[in-house]
């Protein structure tokens, strides 16, 4: 009896083992490292940036390709892309999601939904925006280059705020302000080059316009998104923003070198105390406190009083710490905020002490 049962079980399970549905060979995968979403005339344009690799006598060569499709919703565009490419689109290695400024003005929850329901999604990618998606996707291996720009910026200038997909989702659902870093693609230099080389044929002209190098991608500003409106913020203001949110590694403000800082924001109903401890070098000691206070006051005035944008998400902080006060004055909270800055400076020793 036992043997018959065992035989039955093995036969049935061996029937299942053949034809495994989830089996995909490596060659059937289309590895996507970046997706771009643009919005024009009520249509979404979706760009896919794919990598393929081949060997030639031991050395590995990578091939980069862009696929582009246009449809009225994002999921429709993805189905069209599936039909166009013969391979399975694989999104687990996604590094970067590029949204154009037009998409940032639309309803962002649709963008989120199309990614959340994808089965391969890992939600560990960053989000940036740019002025020209098509030109950006023509640069070779631009996701790695963009991430290297951002890491150097973070280490040397501290003028970069990273935006992860998870924080993006929370901020969209809770209606907070989102700061998206922007990459601008320079197209002016190529036009100038074309005018001087008159001897080249037309083919070479076209090739030259399409070739963009690493120096054409620059990071100068970020974009603030709040309720389908966008605003620009230049990188000096981003440095002050990082100061207030405790993200400084090493930077210069008005030619003064700062090593790092420690900022704490305390709220008491509508009064906000900002305690900053900052490490600077010995020589800049005298000018620094006043200069920094001036800069921070200027920053807070432009964004809280003039433009009425809650850039530091202080409403959420008050909601978390003082729930009853938040309930009462929910609608008018921006006008009631009162700031007080408390600044301490600590000195860092340098190699050389030079006194005049």
């Amino acid at each position: 009896m036992k043997k018959i049962l065992l035989l039955l079980i093995t036969l049935i399970s061996s029937l299942f083992l053949t034809g495994c549905i989830n089996y995909t060979e490596l060659n059937e995968l289309l590895v996507v490292t970046s997706i771009g979403i643009d919005y024009q005339d009520d249509n979404y344009i979706v760009y896919l940036y794919t990598i393929d690799s081949k060997t030639d006598d031991g050395s590995i060569e990578k091939e980069y390709k862009t696929l582009k499709e246009k449809a009225s919703t994002i999921s429709e565009a993805f189905t069209k892309l599936y039909q166009k490419s013969n391979k399975k689109i694989y999104l687990s290695h996604l590094d970067l999601l590029v949204l154009s400024e037009f998409t940032l003005k639309t309803d962002l929850s649709k963008v989120i939904k199309s990614f959340l329901y994808d089965i391969d999604n890992r939600s560990s990618f960053n989000i940036i925006t740019t002025n020209n998606i098509e030109k950006l996707f023509q640069v070779d291996d631009f996701p790695n280059k963009v991430t290297s720009i951002f890491t150097t910026n973070q280490k040397e200038m501290s003028s970069y705020t990273s935006l992860n997909f998870d924080t993006f989702i929370t901020n969209v659902i809770e209606n907070n302000t989102i700061i998206v870093p922007k990459i601008t693609v320079n197209t002016k230099n190529n036009n100038q080059n074309n005018k001087t080389n008159n001897e080249n044929t037309k083919q070479e002209d076209e090739e030259e316009t399409n070739v963009l190098s690493e120096e054409d991608i620059i990071y100068q500003e970020s974009i603030i998104v709040k309720e389908n409106n966008i605003e620009k913020i230049n990188y000096q203001d981003v440095i002050i923003y990082n100061y207030l949110t405790n993200n400084i590694k090493r930077t210069t403000i008005n030619k003064i070198n700062v090593l790092d800082n420690y900022t704490v924001l305390k709220t008491e109903n509508n009064k906000i105390k900002i305690n900053i401890i900052s490490n600077i070098y010995d020589k800049d000691q005298k000018k620094f406190p006043e200069m920094l206070k001036k800069e921070i006051n200027r920053f807070l005035d432009t964004y809280y009083k003039d433009k009425k944008i809650d850039i530091l998400n202080l409403e959420k902080l008050i909601y978390q710490n003082h729930y009853n006060y938040y309930k009462k004055y929910q609608d008018d909270l921006i006008n009631l905020l009162d700031f007080k800055i408390d600044l301490k400076v600590s000195l860092v020793d340098t190699e050389v002490t030079y006194e005049k």
Partner: protein, 476 residues
């Protein structure tokens, strides 16, 4: 007496290697019956025949008590009386000389030594430590053990197993340390064996542990220091005649990760080596399956650059990953087996061929990707780190099973295979003790020697093996 000799001749088929020597003393004949091939003729000449001829020469007057006279005076270290024909035949085929005189018989041991003497260890080599190994002679093996443990509580119980071979099997244990119920269990199991013959000690393994188990529960070793160490811990050693391997019971899973070098080197290096052995065990079982699962089902478990590397290497390969892996493992096994059976004169040519074929030619012909060779070779070499042949064959079986599961179910299949391994190991028993003993029923005092070796002031014995004499030694 003549009747008896005729009966012996009939029962042994009148074979020519049995010699019946008749001696006449004072009108009485006595017979000496012995087997020429099992006894040493020199000893018989020097000790028996010379003395008998002296007696005849000096014309000593013995009419009565011939039997008692010879029984007391012939110089032989092992003399015993026998009473019937079965015992006579038994003694003849054990290398004894049987002295027959009317109705009285006795036997003297004059055994020839047909073994190769105490030699060096061949398979389980250690860097520091004694190098003598067991031989095929029961007495010499027991002597090597008794030389190391000079305590009188080393008891040995004898058994004769095998209807045709009548092999002598000895069960050695320390009476003041070991649990007596373990000895009784082994005696019960061995005495109920009904088999034609025992050629080697491994025949006994099937009776001492269940043949359905994949993993070995009995350690067989040829080193004398390993066996004596096991005796001191409270384990039981089984010595078989005609076998240079002795069996040690009960042995736990962690004993296969211990080498004899563990007590001859420093503790830190030994702990490090044991951790490496555990990692090698995991690599040997799981690495090819993990590679197959990553490249076929779960591509999100590796980073982008590694994935691109694999894509570029698998471009030209015509087989799926499972077939490639099975091909490589089978060819490695064939190479290993043929290396073992080949004589040493042809060894170098075959290894060059194997390296060329498996290394260069397969890759450049585009049949196998280079990463697959690396993966399979690493796992095969990690599997060879253990000195027990049974464990390597169990690892081989699990490796193939896990590869098939991984190819059909990915990482989930590896989980299923891993749980199957854990449950199989946990349910094994060696001599009614749990196989994964210091870990699964957690014994804290044994942890100091299981994987990481530490020093403590008082050394305790394993409570699963002993219930008396629990302290090994103290340090001040």
């Amino acid at each position: 007496m003549d009747k008896l000799i005729d009966e012996i001749k009939i029962k042994t088929g009148n074979s020519k290697d049995l010699i019946y020597k008749s001696i006449k003393i004072n009108n009485k004949t006595i017979y000496l019956v012995f087997s020429e091939v099992l006894t040493s003729g020199e000893d018989i000449n020097n000790f028996i025949l010379k003395n008998i001829s002296k007696i005849i020469d000096f014309k000593i007057d013995i009419t009565n008590g011939l039997f008692e006279f010879f029984y007391n005076s012939i110089p032989s270290h092992n003399v015993s009386k026998v009473s019937n024909i079965d015992e006579i035949l038994d003694k003849i085929f054990n290398g004894y000389v049987v002295f027959i005189e009317e109705n009285n018989y006795f036997a003297m041991e004059m055994r020839a030594s047909l073994d190769r003497g105490v030699s060096n260890v061949v398979n389980e080599i250690s860097l520091r430590g004694p190098k003598d190994a067991f031989t095929e002679n029961f007495n010499k093996n027991l002597g090597l053990l008794r030389r190391r443990i000079k305590c009188p509580s080393l008891f040995v119980k004898d058994l004769e197993i095998g209807k045709q071979t009548k092999t002598k099997v000895g069960i050695a244990y320390m009476n003041n340390i070991c649990k007596i119920k373990n000895v009784d269990l082994i005696l019960e199991k061995l005495s109920s064996i009904n088999i034609d013959g025992i050629i080697d000690a491994s025949y006994l393994k099937d009776y001492l542990s269940s043949p359905k188990n994949l993993f070995p529960t009995v350690v067989s070793t040829e080193r004398v220091d390993v066996a004596s160490q096991a005796l001191l811990e409270g384990k039981i050693v089984i010595i078989t005649d005609n076998s240079p391997y002795c069996l040690i019971l009960p042995s736990f899973f962690i004993d296969f990760f211990h080498t004899p070098d563990d007590y001859y080197q420093k503790e830190i290096s030994i702990s490090f080596l044991r951790i490496i052995k555990l990692i090698a065990f995991l690599i040997a079982c799981f690495l090819p399956a993990y590679y197959i699962a990553i490249t076929t089902h779960n591509h999100d478990a590796i980073s982008t650059n590694l994935l691109l590397n694999f894509i570029s290497q698998r471009q030209n390969v015509p087989f799926p990953a499972l077939v490639e892996a099975l091909l490589m493992t089978i060819s490695f096994e064939i190479l290993k087996e043929s290396d073992l059976r080949m004589s040493s004169t042809m060894g170098t040519a075959v290894s060059i061929l194997g390296g060329l074929i498996l290394g260069d030619a397969l890759v450049s012909a585009g049949i196998v990707s280079p990463i697959m060779i690396i993966v399979v070779a690493t796992s095969m070499i990690s599997g060879l780190i253990f000195s027990s042949v049974d464990l390597t064959s169990a690892i081989r079986f699990y490796r193939i099973m896990l590869m098939i599961l991984a190819a059909s179910l990915g990482l989930y299949g590896i989980f299923i295979g891993g749980m199957f391994l854990i449950i199989h190991l946990v349910s094994l028993k060696t001599l009614e003790e749990d196989y994964l003993a210091p870990f699964s029923p957690l014994i804290e005092k044994e942890q100091r020697d299981a994987i990481i070796k530490t020093n403590s002031k008082v050394k305790y014995r394993n409570p699963l093996l002993t219930d008396k004499n629990k302290v090994k030694g103290r340090r001040k």
